[in-house]
Subunit: 387 residues, 2 copies
């Protein structure tokens, strides 16, 4: 008799989270060792409610569409499980006779995953628990990078380049671009690619370095004066010298995190009022994690691979681990997968290296050595005839 | 002896404006009748300053890159020419011995184009003047649609669908998407495609219909309660019952138009404060006219074709006209080009038909019959396993 498996999504989606689901489902089918394939409808909410989607007989063509479906195709949630919830989780796992449980998420979700595994062991449940990494923020430890980051970074890089060309081709205002990333500046750093891809001046601010607003405005004034157009890219979570966010929406998420936002508009208002320059703020927001046309192909492939590897690892008897990625960048990019204990990644946040931030408003070449292969590498060459 | 030609860009760019430039340049080279190919550096500013870019010997491979270069590759400006400027324009045309002048822009630019043509005739200058249509706003009269609109509409439709999936896959907030379009709702209307492509509820508000904010909030509350996630799409320029914009940036552009903005954030604030729902505003802004990965292929082809047709028309002795597009939609989409007098399109704004707006918050199927072929038609099918 084959195994029954359950896949769940936790937290915010990425542009390739469904590719990991596709990897699990197709590997399960290929293995010949899986009976029932379940997905939790809306993540932890579905698990707690015993509301599972039976994917066992879903057509291969519908599963194939997952590769270009944004957001979570099975639904996700931001509910943080409490100690009181875990017995209910185990109840659902028992009811549906689940043998292998895959939780696809970030460091919050890996904590959930770890607790489910510990409780299952304690209660003598014969359960394999494997975490599948996912976060556009790239803030999981141990793994070289996270599936979802490469696509979010490609979105940031190309969008910033496109805005930079707009700003330098019609140089009437300072364009300020706000990008996602509460505490980790990985995605915003990718936007600094715009300076390499265009003729525009670019200033980039990450949440890792407190921003001196007076210096920021002085730098904006100086760079704008060069007359090549100016793009300023900011992480939604940047803070002032007092350690407080420059702006926030006043909303708190399910994990108790305050949701930043309005940072670009705040900077734009300062530029207009204090420098007397025209300025406009752009905030693609969730599009940075949902856009399919900007997906990085290596990211898509790796997202699929971690799902497949998770399934195979569980069938091999592994448990209590997260799939992680090891990468080689020379002479050319290649990656491989391995397992790391959930305890080592749960609730740990990988910060952007401070030494990769130059003068508080630029990004070092070492970051691009790291990130360009993850973004797909194949950046367009633009025609800049106005030079 | 061959002709000398000059191309200039006016106003805001589109994602395919450079394709029209490519069409002019490649047709000029193919004709064997053109000596010098000039472009105005930063539009009217370059013409007034006598600052032209000589494209005559630019390599074919550099010209080919125009097809995927956003913004204006030669530079544009928002300067509105005054009566005092026109003699200077003619001076530059004389100095560079220009035989054919092509101005690529919207209805403001067609007015400029018309005045140059009239003055040249009056002064006995042997000059051919042809307008090349361009505007993401789709608000030029006579022509079935404008190059640039199809790509902006595709951006709006796909981005809205991606956000809608994000909103219905993790239904914790009402997502409000702001799209460009000051007075004409063509692009925002395209975002209503999201309801056809996803399982999400979608409400769409155009600038053509004054918005009753109380009714808007009541509709948002009702639709959100269905539990399928809610996306609200708004044009940056929507006005309240008092006829005033719900929000504006306080900035005035070079043509004297007040720049709207912050509309989505305003609606989001109302949703949070008055309905007690979580909400977030997204504003991709200029990305809606600059994004290359979302370009509509028929739009790219037509943008090239209008440039080529403009060149050929001028060489055939035509002047004082704009290239316009005629389209057939049944049994399948096809388009052809014709010339229309500049006087008929200068400063005229084509409005979105009121009868295509349903209940003030939805878009009629007739709009999609009109617009889907322009957006490229090939919309993705998403995997929605959570249904």
């Amino acid at each position: 008799m084959g195994k029954n498996i359950l896949v769940a999504h936790g937290g915010g989606p990425t542009a390739v989270i469904n590719c990991s689901l596709q990897g699990v489902v197709e590997a399960a089918r290929d293995s010949g060792k899986v009976d029932k394939i379940y997905a939790a409808r809306f993540g932890a909410e579905g698990i707690l409610a015993g509301d599972l989607i039976d994917l066992t007989d879903v057509s291969p063509s519908a599963i194939a569409k997952l590769s270009h479906t944004p957001a979570s195709a099975i639904g996700s949630c931001r509910r943080k499980l409490t100690d009181a919830d875990y017995p209910t989780v185990l109840e659902t796992l028992r009811k549906f006779e689940i043998d292998c449980f895959f939780y696809n998420g970030g460091n919050d979700s890996m904590d959930t995953c770890h607790k489910v595994n510990e409780l299952a062991k304690k209660e003598g449940l014969d359960l394999r628990v494997i975490g599948i990494p996912k976060t556009m923020d790239n803030d999981l430890e141990i793994t070289d990078h996270c599936p979802g980051f490469g696509s979010a970074a490609r979105y940031a890089a190309l969008s910033a380049a496109e805005l930079a060309l707009d700003a330098s081709g019609l140089p009437i205002h300072v364009v300020v671009l706000e990008l996602m990333g509460r505490n980790a500046g990985w995605v915003t750093a990718a936007s600094a690619m715009a300076a390499r891809l265009t003729d525009c001046e670019v200033l980039t601010y990450l949440p890792e370095v407190p921003v001196d607003e007076d210096k920021m405005l002085a730098d904006i004034e100086t760079r704008y004066a060069k007359g090549r157009g100016l793009l300023v890219t900011v992480s939604e979570g940047i803070c002032g010298l007092d350690g407080k966010p420059l702006a926030d929406t006043g909303i708190v998420d399910g994990f108790g995190h305050k949701i930043p936002g309005g940072t670009a508009q705040h900077v734009t208002d300062q530029i207009i009022q204090k420098l007397g320059l025209k300025s406009r703020a752009e905030k693609p927001g969730l599009l940075g994690r949902a856009s399919i046309p900007y997906v990085s192909l290596p990211d898509r492939e790796e997202a699929y691979a971690v799902g497949k590897f998770a399934l195979e690892s569980a069938l091999n008897g592994e448990s209590g681990c997260m799939v992680a990625i090891a990468a080689e960048r020379t002479p050319q990019y290649s990656s491989s997968l391995f397992l790391t204990p959930l305890a080592d990644v749960a609730n740990v946040e990988k910060k952007f290296p401070l030494e990769w931030i130059v003068d508080g408003n630029g990004i070092a070449g070492t970051f691009f050595d790291y990130a360009v292969p993850l973004m797909g590498g194949d950046f367009p060459e633009y025609a800049l005839l106005r030079k």
